[in-house]
């Protein structure tokens, strides 16, 4: 094993938490049972790293196999680093009958055509997601396995989730994806987060949404906490209405975990009390960022507790409605479809 392979393996083992190490190695199935038995997984990381390095040297593990191990770990533990969502546009007629094997072959061949030196691994996960690991190389150098890009795609949907990829290589990846999935274009879905499942659930409508219904289902009985019957809430009905509208806007139960919502404003400043700013020519550029460990829960709580006004403002409810967390807001003159039109500008110095 050469130096770079050893380095890769070392970094990988250090990254995998000790309690997951054994199961990941079992899944990898490149080490014999005896070898795995000989390792004591309760020892310190450093000793473990040395031992496993020695065993892999013995087995003469190649870079490709170590990349496989990294992929297995990543699939089990995808919430490391940022994921960005993209949407494929204009499917061809036979896009919906695309098979896995076809997609694999096409993607590999297209990407190899665009860039000679890439290392691609494709794996299908149990939930029908296709995982792709790409190690990029220049025309001359070998693929760099220390900074791979991961791509997750569900066949027959138009969504692709990508971890970090440099702006130089992004168009190559986009082209390979578009051609192999039989679409005509790809665009940024303006949704990003650290939690892959969260952005997937948001895009694929797999979180618990609330709709008005004539026959509320029997199973959805609310857990009425039996509080002291002598205490009566003054505005119980209003609070219940607010909670209902907040749930309709953002969803019920546990919400997908998004970390931020960013609004980029390119509008004219309008505040009658501040003449200097209002008289300025040109647009007023400003970025408003909401950040939280779970921004949707925070927004829902704001709405149901009355901090945000009800009915929920379209700027806030668009996060779930349009499944995106990056917005550009311009004045009410018509703009491209990815921007939200705001009829009245409500910019004050407080916001």
């Amino acid at each position: 094993m050469d130096v770079s392979t050893k380095c890769l393996l070392q970094r990988l083992i250090r990254r995998i938490p000790s309690h997951m190490l054994k199961t990941t190695l079992d899944q990898w199935s490149r080490l014999t049972a005896a070898q795995i038995q000989s390792v004591d997984f309760t020892e310190s990381k450093r000793t473990l790293t040395e031992k496993l390095l020695a065993i892999c040297e013995e087995n003469e593990c190649s870079v490709s196999q170590i990349a496989e191990l990294e992929m297995i770990h990543m699939i089990e533990n995808p919430n490391v680093g940022m994921w960005y969502a993209f949407q494929l546009l204009e499917p061809q007629d036979d896009a919906c009958t695309l098979e896995l094997i076809q997609f694999k072959e096409q993607f590999k061949s297209h990407l190899h055509q665009l860039l000679r030196s890439v290392s691609i691994k494709i794996k299908r996960h149990t939930d029908d997601a296709v995982w792709i690991r790409i190690a990029w190389g220049d025309g001359i150098s070998r693929p760099n396995h220390l900074k791979p890009t991961y791509v997750v795609h569900y066949l027959q949907t138009s969504y692709v989730f990508v971890t970090s990829v440099t702006s130089k290589l992004k168009p190559l990846l986009s082209q390979a994806l578009v051609l192999s999935t039989k679409h005509h274009g790809i665009k940024d879905a303006n949704l990003s987060g650290r939690n892959l499942m969260a952005i997937r659930d948001l895009l694929m409508n797999q979180y618990q949404q609330v709709f008005p219904s004539k026959y509320p289902s029997l199973l959805a009985e609310e857990n009425q906490t039996v509080s002291n019957p002598r205490i009566e809430k003054e505005q119980a009905q209003m609070a219940a209405d607010r909670h209902k509208m907040a749930c309709e806007a953002f969803g019920d139960g546990t919400l997908p975990q998004l970390q931020s919502a960013v609004y980029k404003l390119e509008t004219k400043f309008k505040d009658p009390t501040n003449k200097t700013m209002t008289d300025r020519e040109g647009t007023f550029k400003c970025v408003v960022k909401f950040a939280s460990t779970n921004i949707l829960e925070s927004l829902r709580h704001c709405a149901s507790s009355g901090i945000a006004s009800i009915p929920v403002a379209p700027l806030l409810s668009s996060v779930t409605l349009k499944a995106r967390n990056r917005f550009v807001i311009t004045d009410s003159d018509p703009g491209p479809s990815s921007q939200i039109h705001q009829a009245q500008n409500n910019l004050t110095t407080d916001s």
Binding site: L100, R124, T157, S158, F211, P212, S213
Partner: protein, 290 residues
């Protein structure tokens, strides 16, 4: 007691007499007010009885109207109505209202879609239930704006069901019923295929699912033939997304003659016509697969 001892027995007797007399007066007053109360209650109860009688009468006539309406399935003039015309039209409208409510409830019970008005009539929310083999599966919801233009607002339908394409194809602006029927078909077929896959995984552990996808439009299964232990790869393509049955069945095996044998040709037809989990049961009973 000391007072009586001080004043004497006679004065005590006087005291008692005064008390008795005042109590008698009081009782009379109490009795009078009690009588007044009871009389008022009586009046109220009589009024209530009259009102309830009138309601019962109205309900009886409503029932008669409903019976005649259900038989003819259309509102018609009832010549036997003795009441004045205002009363009869009101009753007829009420009967029609209850008839429609019962129809809607029946539609809901048989698994059809429910629809309610939202935003003061500017939009509707449709609830589509899916079911397969008499088991209710997921419910999907759609909010549609009717004014100013028919537009789908928000929904929890998975993205691989192409709502926008279906809306264009069925011309949703003119025929919302057609659109909803198509969506219901697609959703029910998808739920049916998903349920079949789930049952295959549960009931047939010896059959390995090699490939499936989120739309459940393709299914690749690996069978093992008993005795020879040959592997057979079976590909089921569901290209018609409004149906729960495959459009194409393909067999591949190391034994090249196996797919052409009459037994497996029969299996091919079986898989085209029977839901896959039941077909596998039949094939297993016939000894074709493990």
């Amino acid at each position: 007691m000391e007072r009586t001892a001080a004043k004497g027995v006679l004065s005590h007797l006087c005291l008692l007499e005064v008390q008795a007399r005042s109590r008698r007066n009081q009782t009379q007053q109490q009795q009078q007010s009690r009588v007044k109360e009871l009389k008022a209650q009586l009046e109220a109860l009589i009024v209530r009885k009259e009102r309830l009688k009138a309601e019962i009468q109205a309900h009886k006539e409503l029932q008669k109207l409903r019976l005649s309406m259900d038989k003819q399935n259309a509102p018609e003039e009832d010549e036997n109505m003795d009441d004045d015309s205002e009363n009869s039209t009101l009753l007829r409208t009420m009967a029609r209202h209850t008839q429609l409510k019962d129809l809607l409830y029946a539609h809901h019970l048989i698994g059809g879609y429910d629809i309610i008005r939202i935003r003061q009539g500017k939009g509707v929310c449709v609830s589509i239930t899916t079911a397969y083999e008499a088991i209710y599966l997921d419910t999907y919801n759609l909010e549609i704006n009717l004014k100013p233009k028919v537009r789908i607002n928000r929904h929890n339908i998975p993205p691989f069901i192409p709502l926008n394409v279906l809306a264009e194809q069925t011309n949703v602006e003119r025929d919302i019923n057609g659109f909803l029927d198509t969506v219901t078909q697609h959703l029910n077929a998808f739920a049916g295929r998903k349920q079949q896959l789930k049952l295959v995984k549960e009931q047939h552990k010896s059959v390995e699912v090699m490939e499936s996808n989120v739309l459940c439009s393709i299914l690749v299964l690996l069978f093992t033939v008993p005795r020879e232990k040959t592997a057979v790869l079976c590909t089921l393509e569901y290209n018609d997304h409004t149906r729960c049955l495959p459009t194409r069945v393909l067999f591949e095996s190391e034994d090249k003659q196996l797919p052409d044998s009459p037994q497996w040709k029969k299996n091919c037809n079986l898989l085209m016509e029977t839901p896959v989990h039941r077909a596998l049961l039949i094939m297993r009973k016939a000894g074709n697969i493990v």
